[in-house]
Amino acid sequence: MEIELTAEQRAFRESCGKLAANLAARWHRGRGPHDIDPPTPGDDSWSRVVDSGWLAIGLREENGGAGASVVDLTVLAERLGYHAVPAPVLGAVIAAEQLQTWNAPPGLLQDLAEGGLRLAPALDAGLRTLAGAAENSLAWDAAGAEAAVIPATGVAHALGDALPFADPTRAVRPLGAPSGLPAITLTPPGEQALARLGAFTLSLLTADLLGTMQAALDAAIDHARTREQFGAPIGSFQAVQQLLADGHVLVEATRSASYHAAWAVDALPGAEALRAARVAKAFASRSAVEVCESAVQVFGGIGMTWEAPAHIWLRRAHTGRTVFGDEHHHQGVIADDDPHRS
């Protein structure tokens, strides 16, 4: 057993964090829900994303990628969550991974890796799984994306305007008519490869949730250290300490689950990896909401205002929880895994 990030991964984490903070700082969430910047990155931001190689590293080398491990990718996803980055990196990475799994031609994947073609993943209307057909399906994390591909048909669909979504850092857009892109020749993957794709997706979402809850907790701790009431920092009160300590426990447990799920995608057969990822996503979904709610509580009144960042984390926790299935969804699958009589 060897359960920690390597020195290289820690260095990568730091560089990801720097760019993520920079990207987040370029976006302004406005003075209220009536006044929000769209999450679409500007050209300058997008070229920084492309130059960083974030869109390429996860792809195999023959497809223009660096063949990085899923653990590496979750290091990135955690930092994106931590800084609540609005640029649609996860959407682009998941769309590319899906096409790679469906054996898309290397040229297309290279286009994605280089950010020239911007795709988003298509999900069913309940945002639970990757869509099998275009009808009623929704592209997620689709700000600035040109299209979303339905692998079963190879057709790239144009995307409509963003729908109202609780999370202002990510866009959800309905699939429309086929876009101008030529149809793509794809080969359906085997069952294990499909399961691995599911595990891959859930691992990234888990890491995003981990970063989100860590950010909310860190900010709440900072606030508790400095905000004074009754002549003392509120962080010196036992009731506040109990809340924050429980938050830390959940963050660390989620981190363990996230590491395990990411490791499993590369190390275990697809079905086992998917099970590990379901466990991690279910745990992260409930824990992220709980920790972000605690953070809002510690912030007090100020945490309920639009100008405080607390609600952005809470929104990202809730939407990250919903997308690709919340804890009830995955626990339902786990419950059904056991055949039963009653």
């Binding site: 729908l163 609780a166 309920m304 809730h318």
Partner: protein, 376 residues
């Protein structure tokens, strides 16, 4: 033991229902604080209620009230919520502060406008540095001949942008520590030096504001009660702030619950067995809350101590936050996707454990004042 209305209560309830049947349609657009128009609708609703005799129920008739027990305020709020009507004007506690402490002159001058809803009032208590620790507030009202000069800043002042008057808690006795140095004043919001800045909530609500006071002159005759009596009056207000409003809150939660059950019953919302059981659990909670609030309200004569109110607030928060957890799970993806209402309601449920004293402070009040546990 009688949980049912007595004949007078039943008559009042029936009359109110009839009035709502006849008048609610005129106010279907609802109320709000997002814009001048929605504020105008809010005021129109409040004035209609006042005209029909439904404002100031528990205030003495001499000042424009109706001299009824608190339980009538509870019935009013419950019926409005159950009917899906906008809420009653939240002024009972302000009116009681003035009616029970102010001079005859001040009462005669301001109560008719307050109870007739001709004037809009707000309450200036919380400050950026004094939220849960209200006694630590720093806004000063310095005595200067026949006036006070107010300087400082208030926050979370509901409706401040639209108010004519403010019941202000400020420090008048700089020599006295914490709550002993406070007094209560009626401040004209049109006075020179009063400035409001809107606070937009995460839910999108624009009801609150920060209020800045810069050398605002307030006539000494606008002092409510005596100098240094401010804390006592504020605590007295707490008793009127909760009970009857709680019944309205229960009515609102009951409506949310009923809608959710109807959604499940009709199949509009797909609910697995687990969700249906959680909904039944929430239904149990809401019903128990209703009987508990009724007991609190019926059990007190005029006013109750604030600590018992903390018990009710903790219970309400627990029930509400659990209910919204279930309702949001029932909504599924439409909780986060599409119309922002459900998510805004959820955010509001999270505020319940903060506004009016955090859950942590409420528990401490219960532990120390009700259970008699020692202070640290």
């Amino acid at each position: 033991m009688n949980f049912a209305d007595d004949p007078a209560e039943a008559g009042f309830r029936a009359g109110l229902r009839a009035w709502l049947r006849d008048h609610l349609d005129e106010h279907r657009e609802g109320t709000g604080y997002e814009s001048a128009e929605s504020v105008e609708r809010t005021l129109r609703w409040h004035r209609a209620l006042a005209e029909a005799g439904y404002v100031g129920l528990s205030l003495p008739a001499a000042y424009g009230g109706h001299g009824l027990p608190d339980v009538y305020e509870g019935i009013l709020n419950e019926e409005l919520a159950t009917a899906g009507a906008p809420a009653s004007p939240p002024i009972g506690h302000i009116a009681h502060a003035v009616a029970d402490f102010a001079s005859e002159e001040l009462k005669a001058r301001v109560l008719p406008g307050l109870l007739g809803c001709a004037e809009v009032w707000c309450q200036g208590f919380s400050e950026p540095g004094a939220g849960s620790d209200l006694a630590g507030l720093t806004t000063t009202a310095t005595a200067d001949g026949d006036r006070f000069v107010v300087n400082g800043q208030k926050i979370w002042t509901s409706g401040a942008m639209w108010s004519d008057r403010c019941l202000l808690l400020a420090r008048t006795e700089p020599g006295l520590a914490r709550h002993r140095g406070l007094s209560m004043l009626v401040v004209d919001m049109r006075s020179a030096g009063v400035d409001c800045r809107e606070i937009v909530l995460a839910s999108g609500s624009r009801e609150f504001a920060e209020v800045f006071f810069d050398d605002v002159s307030v006539p000494a005759a606008n002092l409510v009660g005596e100098r240094g009596q401010g804390w006592r009056i504020a605590m007295h207000m707490l008793a009127y702030e909760r009970g009857p409003a709680d019944m309205g809150w229960v009515g609102r939660l009951g409506r949310v619950l009923a809608e959710a059950r109807e959604d499940v019953r009709t199949g509009r919302v797909a609910a697995d067995a687990g969700l249906r059981l959680r909904l039944a659990e929430a239904a149990v909670d809401v019903e128990v809350l209703r009987w508990h609030v009724a007991r609190s309200l019926a059990g007190r004569g005029g006013g109750s101590d604030g600590a018992a109110g903390s018990v009710d607030k903790l219970l309400t928060t627990r029930v509400e936050q659990n209910l919204y957890r279930v309702v949001s799970d029932l909504a599924g993806p439409s909780f986060v996707l599409g119309a922002p209402g459900p998510f805004a309601d959820y955010l509001w449920s999270r505020a319940q454990s903060i506004y009016g004293g955090t859950q942590q402070i409420q528990r401490q009040i219960v532990a120390q004042r009700v259970l008699g546990l020692p202070r640290a």
